[in-house]
Symmetry: C2
Subunit: 340 residues, 2 copies
């Protein structure tokens, strides 16, 4: 019989469908994703030489006049960085004008250099960029929450091949985030400890779903993972906000993130994925009850009708088996050398 | 400048991206979906003659020994209808064994007879089936919530072409539903009225987003529709639970639902869609604060990376323009005759 498991980080129930369980290799989509695109595309607005195709850049990290990572406003900005937000209410209708920040972080000058194939040092520059933009934008008094996320592959909703991440910041708090904060606060009030700290401790005690540990971070498949290979990377130290991350932690996070992405790349043949940094809203930056973490969701199965209709999730793999599989993925020697 | 709007029924904020606004015909996917499949498929487990390919049926509506609508347990049941649910807790881990009901409602003996092309009378039989199964399953003491939904088209996550809907009932309340109930109760306590009744009244007063009205139902695009052409069909009468629906209301709902589906079919060239009946949990069947409704989501745009990452939605159409477009879709004469 299948079982229902509850995920305390997002409040969701998931049916772990053991009787329909699939083995990891059954989830691999043979879409030719292992064929790498060329390292430069003349039509790509994110490739070097095409800088004029994007709005003027917000920041860059580079040397010798060349950039390694750069940040530009999203050309098709759904939010405008100019002006002050104003709220209007008419009956039940709540309206806020579309003020906010929406940026693209270009992760590499190479068109085909996906993070799974980068060195940890290259990933570190991207994360450093995340940190600087996070801190700068969270000081903007108009903004309630800064969200950093990455989509990789068409099934994850990206339209650009060139490696990039996105930052979005709006003058409202999405209901999902508000609910997570309320749940975390309730837990803190009842249990006297941070929900994330507790989840991490229980996962470490249980150990069967741990993928990898570093001095500052732990990567694991949560007990009630909503979909195959959905995983969390948690900082060991309590931090509510991503902006609190320290340089040695950035470097350590780069190592574990690159390693996990490489394991997905080689073990599951470059699946599409989304990752998002789940962090506290600006008003709760240093709260004792929320723990930031990175949530990574490979897009191996179609989440559509069932979830949308039922409000529940079906996971056709066992979280314990997923973790075991990822632990055992062997990386090519070149990656091991880079990581050492 | 774009604007942020708040949807009180689901608590979500959506960016109405007026500057990226698309016209309806730009959303049409030219996937050849207007080519109808043949009316019978030998390999289809839902076609007449293949009844042995499904588990024994739960109910049918038919005559002369033939069925028009039938209900069968889902062959690949993620939940088992046998046994009693038991809960186990270990630290933060919450576990319930996978007891529940998961059924398929076959909407027609014809393989290619999608509801948009049915007569209202045929749709009525499907809805009557929904009603009977809803009432029967909600009397099962093990079940917390009965959810009825339909996926149409590959982009909506269906793997079977044959017209069908699904019923799922589990011994837990999905967090999304719990939150909606809490929001509705808070509104009721503060405002002394049902949130759904109020939303409906404001939409009728505003009138610009109404698609169609019948004696018992109203179809409209909500003020803060999360995606293009996402629409609600609300009963005018306050009912918390779908099980309260009366025969004349079933017949009226069939007419408005068939009409809206036909407008989508002809106006947007048979888009994929999901619909779900959002109804009160069994424990709150007759509550004064929740209003059941049907939520219909055409799958015209890829909801993926942005929503998943940011927790916000972007709608690239104006709800007012969507409603106007649907109001003006002209149906073929044969459909008008059927509907009269």
């Amino acid at each position: 019989m299948s079982e229902l498991r509850h995920n305390p980080m997002n409040g969701e129930w998931v049916i772990i469908a053991t009787e329909r369980a699939k083995r990891p290799h059954e989830l691999i989509k043979k879409t030719g994703e292992m064929k790498r695109p060329s390292s430069y595309s003349g039509a790509c607005p994110l490739c070097p030489g095409n800088e004029h195709m994007t709005p003027p850049e917000t920041m860059r990290i580079g040397w010798n006049g060349k950039w390694q990572v750069r940040v530009v406003p999203n050309k098709f900005a759904a939010l405008s960085s100019q002006g002050e937000p104003f709220r209007r209410t008419h009956g039940l209708r709540r309206f806020v004008n579309g003020v906010g920040i929406y940026e693209v972080i270009v992760g590499s000058p190479d068109h085909n250099r996906t993070p799974a194939l980068m060195s940890p040092g290259e990933v570190e520059l991207i994360l450093e960029c995340y940190r600087q933009r996070y801190i700068a934008i969270s000081e903007d008094q108009r903004i309630d929450l800064v969200t950093i996320f990455k989509n990789h592959g068409a099934d994850a909703g990206t339209s650009l091949e060139h490696p990039h991440s996105q930052v979005i910041a709006a003058p409202i708090l999405p209901s999902e985030v508000q609910r997570r904060m309320e749940d975390a606060l309730r837990f803190y009030n009842e249990e006297g400890q941070c929900l994330g700290c507790r989840v991490l401790r229980e996962e470490l005690d249980d150990s069967v779903r741990i993928i990898q540990e570093t001095p500052h971070f732990v990567a694991f498949i949560p007990y009630a993972s909503l979909s195959p290979f959905s995983l969390y990377i948690f900082p060991r130290r309590h931090m509510a906000s991503f902006g609190e991350i320290q340089p040695e932690e950035i470097s350590d996070l780069a190592r574990i993130l690159q390693d996990v992405l490489a394991k997905l790349y080689y073990g599951l043949e470059n699946p599409a994925y989304n990752y998002v940094i789940r962090t506290a809203p600006n008003a709760n930056s240093y709260s004792r009850y929320f723990h930031w973490y990175l949530s990574l969701i490979p897009r191996l199965t179609k989440v559509a009708g069932f979830e949308m209709g039922s409000g529940m999730y079906i996971n056709v793999t066992l979280p314990e088996a997923d973790a075991d599989f990822l632990r055992k993925v062997e990386l090519p020697v070149s990656d091991l050398l880079q990581a050492s």
